[in-house]
Symmetry: D2
Subunit: 162 residues, 4 copies
């Protein structure tokens, strides 16, 4: 089917400052506002799969992401995801061998915080998902990596090839 599904799972990308508790947490996704802001003309379907910090994702959470990808009617899927466990989720999606192009992305700085990389990364993922053949990829730091040749360098806060 035409169009792109954006599967929202939370992560730094969507973190929101709770002023009563004084912490960064999740409330709603910013994606509906972002889609308007960036003036996308391709049909986009937003789906909130979960809103969690990826450090707290368990096996079942990853299976829920896989299930959502499987059941999606679109052939092109962008997943917003926490960066700390993005590679782990990619390793669940990759071997599943769905005949779809799936691109995970995220942010090092939340969309709602000054100096965020969220919009840039989303642009990268949104373009990669349209141009790449079926498979599972990670789009971060202006690069696109196949799911099985990437790791996060936690010291530098960037993704790199392996």
């Amino acid at each position: 089917m035409d169009g792109i599904r954006i599967l929202i799972t939370g992560g730094t990308f969507d973190k929101h400052y709770d002023e009563l508790k004084g912490i960064l947490t999740f409330k709603n996704s910013h994606l509906p506002d972002i889609i308007k802001q960036v003036r996308i003309t391709i049909p986009v379907e937003l789906e909130i799969n979960q809103l969690v910090d990826s450090l707290e994702m368990g096996d079942q959470d990853r299976q829920n992401i896989l299930a959502a990808c499987t059941r999606a009617s679109e052939d092109q899927i962008v997943i917003t995801h926490g960066t700390d466990r993005m590679v782990d989720t990619a390793k669940v999606l990759g071997p599943a061998g769905l005949n779809k192009t799936i691109v995970l992305t995220g942010a090092m700085v939340p969309y709602s915080v000054a100096g965020s990389d969220a919009l840039f990364n989303l642009g990268c993922a949104f373009t990669a998902v349209q141009l790449l053949p079926p498979g599972v990829y990670i789009a971060m730091n202006g690069r696109v990596f196949p799911w099985d040749r990437v790791r996060k360098n936690y010291d530098k806060g960037v993704f790199e090839s392996i």
Copy 2:
């Protein structure tokens, strides 16, 4: 040569508010700050070719852009450009047949204004330039168009296929 050249020509993307004159104009490019903000790990060469509103671009200005593309040592070039005459510049670059991948992008709302699409569009262009074969393209509204099959719809403020 490895790496990506970003050729800066101005446009809405880089407009800056001059508080003494009370108008949007050009001062410096925001691209050096943006490159840091989005945490790109690929070598990037920034080149300010001109800082103008594309409505004021003449033939010579377009030739200057073509000359910069020709002389660039990189095979991948992103051009930030005003949206109003982006297609016109693409029509100068396309027929030149350089053996490089060139992607023009811009913004409907300046980077320095709330609700800007600049970072998203830059992410789209930055990814397209790495994934597409040699040719000249426009990346806007989350889509990538070949230079000779795109127009700006001025009423809607979006780019569309022709």
Copy 3:
């Protein structure tokens, strides 16, 4: 009556980027959103008197502002106004001798543009209107000036005592 009236007249404070025309103009006031954002607990009444660039204000426009101040049930009135003719409007309001505290303020950079002084200036005016005796004042650049002892220095873009 208790509470503070904010009389909105436009000016740089409220300018909005029109992405179709590529110009800064007026659409709606940002004040309703701002009032929520800054978590004011005092009753506030917002009134849009006009939405214009103060360079385009005529005598009748100033009379409309005076009329709104006269008819307001509140004794404390903040007026958001373009900086270029703020002093001129103050010179209409001051001699009218209303038994109210009226503070004009504005912005050198629109609220919707990065690096805006709008929120700071509004905070200054909002506090001055509560602490000062009846009279007409201008709050800009972190200072509060009586209406008849202030001018805008157009070269420096700041207000100063005369």
Copy 4:
């Protein structure tokens, strides 16, 4: 002495997102940038007294703030402070009976996060410190409270009279 001293103690106002650790913490103060942004024309002296979350302030930290106020050559002092223990610090400064005007302020949302109240609150404090007689005050939510007649309502996240 003429001029206003801004004593920086940290708090939500100055929190910064650490993208490697994924937490809000302190790095540098944003006040130097803010002072430029809001175009203040009064001489301002910035002093970083400490950069802490006020929940972690101890008695000695409060004595350090008092000492800084005592030794300041200015008669007007604004203190940026965490909101959770702002009243506690005010209760140390108030009884000290310095012959200076001291205004504490802070933010519910950090300056670096979208939707911040920091600039507005700073404007309130900056104006209050110039208009009020010697004493210790808290400027929050668009109101100015004497130090001994205010509390933070933690459920609502606002300051109120007692």
